[in-house]
């Protein structure tokens, strides 16, 4: 099978074209560094099937970070290389085209965002550009699918030429200044700029990176996002999911509970404990009750709400601007502004957050960012439960939990920055223009994120419930609880049985938080436990990704920091929250 590589600068839309060619979903956003590892799929063009590879964006073939290295390493394995360019930014993008031509790879140029360029008054003479470059040039719009057929035809036709060995156009090696001079000349001849007045989006663009105005705007965006996530999440729960579970599903379970009355163990496993003869979905701890209710009716609505807001922010192109605004602050905790993006992704799930740190330049920065994410950034599964458990006492208390975790990140970051030796590279970040999110693309991404949650979370939650029941049956808990009691009770002020939820946090944070309910904790205890679930050991998925990204040595270091900060900050949280609630 012939291999087709999609390469190009960051944020030019390679993943959108990949999705169009292969029909496979690839996450598309409007910021540089969405794709950090390569992704492969198949495209059937005519009678032939091609292997299509989506690569992380790179500004040049000389790599400067892990994600860019992936692309550089892959380059020679492609039978056909498609260089994707951003038509609104032709000059900068052509540098890589020149490097590819110098390397003599069989090249097709895909001129993406061609519609955007026309809207902006940038007219490109495509046949002329092809003539100068001596390779096929195809205008495309990845998001809408425009031009993808032409691109596919070019690939098929090109494949034959590659076989005949006449598809290789190589040019002489240029010096850097020669390259820019040549590019300048080509652009001057094929591109025609028309003067346009500033649009509303462009004005908003400038306002939202302005030092003072931008910060005010960021606070506004944050508050609105918080309110929207809460409103959608709670709305879905109270209007859709609770009625379905309580009204339609519960009667079935009640009947099942009756038939299982003669088989206590099975009843215990599937339905769980009855509270006053009734099924309480949160407390029952049966696989068919709590095991389904927690992920589907408590967490999924928030997953949907959170990722809807995040996807819109990603697609508009807001995240890099936050990075610029917070760069000075991030320097104080050993990272630069780009780290804001992995941290925000970590708020959804720590795993993609930690993966996104691949776009950072140094190992030191990646270590600090990954550690801080797994300690101080609660994933949306945990947040949904905190909203329910703590939020029932008043939303203000939820805000305190967030504020405490934010403070932990700042303090711990400042300490790590001093403890770990190394230089902090400065921020270099391309700020993409604001773009209106494509409805189809945003919905797609949301769908895949929700599906990912259902596939990954439900089996683990069910396993967790099963484990809790088995351990409960064997009676091993009393022993564990007595061993860990000094820390759990003396330092954190929690009942010693709280070790069960905290330990279960290793499997899933949501089911762990659910296990707090039967303990009937006071408000400050609930808040402390919520903080501890984030601070302490990461869940198994996060643990696996830390291990593969940092290596075992640094993972051990990172875990040491987690355990230590859980003990120290957990104790602090207890004191603070007790004072707050009294």
């Amino acid at each position: 099978m012939k291999r087709v590589l999609l390469v190009g600068n960051p944020n030019v839309g390679k993943s959108a074209i990949f999705s169009r060619l292969t029909g496979i979903h690839a996450s598309v956003s409007n910021y540089p560094g969405t794709t950090v590892t390569y992704k492969t799929g198949c495209a059937k063009i005519g009678d032939e099937t091609f292997e299509v590879v989506d690569t992380p964006g790179t500004y040049s073939l000389d790599w400067t970070n892990e994600a860019e290295k992936v692309t550089s390493d892959l380059l020679d394995s492609g039978h056909i290389v498609i260089n994707v360019l951003d038509a609104t930014n032709l000059e900068r993008n052509l540098l890589m085209t020149m490097q590819l031509l110098e390397r003599g790879v069989p090249l097709i140029v895909g001129l993406n965002m061609f519609d955007d360029a026309q809207h902006k008054g940038i007219h490109i003479d495509v046949p002329r550009l092809a003539e100068y470059l001596r390779v096929p040039v195809v205008p495309v719009v990845g998001i809408s699918g425009f031009g993808i057929k032409d691109l596919a035809q070019q690939i098929a036709g090109f494949a034959e030429r590659v076989e005949r060995q006449d598809a290789f156009t190589s040019i002489h090696q240029h010096s850097p200044s020669e390259k820019w001079a040549d590019i300048g000349e080509i652009v001057g001849r094929v591109q025609n700029l028309e003067h346009r007045h500033h649009t509303f989006l462009e004005r908003l663009q400038d306002a939202s990176t302005h030092p003072a105005g931008g910060l005010a705007f960021a606070v506004f965006v944050l508050l609105v996002s918080f309110a929207v996530v809460r409103a959608i999440g709670e709305g879905l729960i109270s209007l859709v999911l609770d009625p379905v579970f309580e009204g339609a599903y519960k009667p079935i379970l009640v009947r099942l509970s009756g038939t299982l009355a003669s088989k206590p163990f099975l009843h215990h496993l599937l339905i769980g404990k009855l509270v006053d003869g009734d099924i309480d979905f949160v407390q029952a701890m049966g696989m068919l009750t709590t095991g389904l209710y927690v992920p589907l009716a408590m967490v999924l609505p928030y997953i949907l709400a959170f990722y809807l807001v995040l996807s819109i922010m990603e697609d508009i192109g807001y995240l890099p601007r936050l990075g610029v605004l917070l760069d000075a602050l991030m320097h104080k905790i050993g990272m630069h502004g780009f780290c804001v993006i992995p941290m925000l992704l970590g708020l959804g799930c720590n795993v993609p957050g930690i993966l996104a740190t691949r776009s950072l330049e140094t190992k030191r920065q990646r270590f600090i960012a990954s550690t801080l994410i797994s300690i101080g950034v609660p994933c949306v599964s945990l947040q949904a439960m905190v909203f329910k458990l703590v939020g029932d006492h008043g939303l203000g208390y939820v805000v305190w939990v967030y504020a405490f975790l934010a403070a932990v990140i700042l303090v711990l970051g400042a300490i790590l920055r001093r403890l770990i030796k190394g230089v902090l590279p400065e921020l270099i970040l391309e700020i993409p223009p604001y773009r209106l999110p494509g409805f189809r693309a945003t919905c797609h991404k949301l769908f895949y994120r929700c599906r990912g949650f259902i596939y990954e979370a439900i089996p683990l939650v069910l396993l967790g419930v099963l484990l809790v029941n088995i351990l409960d049956y064997i009676g091993i808990f009393e022993f564990c609880a007595s061993v860990t009691a000094p820390v759990v009770s003396r330092i954190w002020g929690l009942p010693q049985e709280a070790i069960l939820p905290l330990a279960m946090g290793f499997l899933r944070k949501d089911i762990a938080a659910g296990l707090l309910v039967p303990l009937s904790l006071s408000l400050p205890q609930l808040m402390t436990a919520s903080v501890l679930l984030s601070l302490s050991f990461p869940c198994i998925a996060t643990f696996a990704i830390l291990f593969s990204e940092l290596g075992w040595r640094n993972t051990l270091k990172s875990i040491g920091i987690m355990v230590l900060s859980a003990i120290v900050f957990g104790g602090l949280a207890r004191v603070l929250f007790a004072a707050l609630a009294s």
Partner: protein, 75 residues
């Protein structure tokens, strides 16, 4: 004059990138090469980044980097 000290909103021409090879390479790859016209759009306080526009690209550069980009006024 450097990118750090120049005025915002006025066009300047890049005359030198005063740094190591790696530094120069990264900036050139982003389109910030000698001879290009740049406009500073904002300078963030507390040692924060400087944002600039080069052709159609908007870039954010760390404080220390901005200090090493030497400019002259463009006619």
């Amino acid at each position: 004059m450097t990118l750090l000290t120049c005025d915002s909103g006025k066009p300047y021409r890049v005359i030198a990138l005063a740094g190591g090879q790696h530094f120069q390479l990264r900036l050139r790859n982003l389109g910030l090469a000698e001879g290009k016209l740049v406009v500073k759009t904002a300078k963030h306080p507390f040692g924060g980044p400087v944002t600039i526009r080069v052709e159609q690209t908007e870039l954010a550069l760390g404080h220390g980097m901005a200090e090493r980009i030497v400019l002259e006024e463009a006619q």
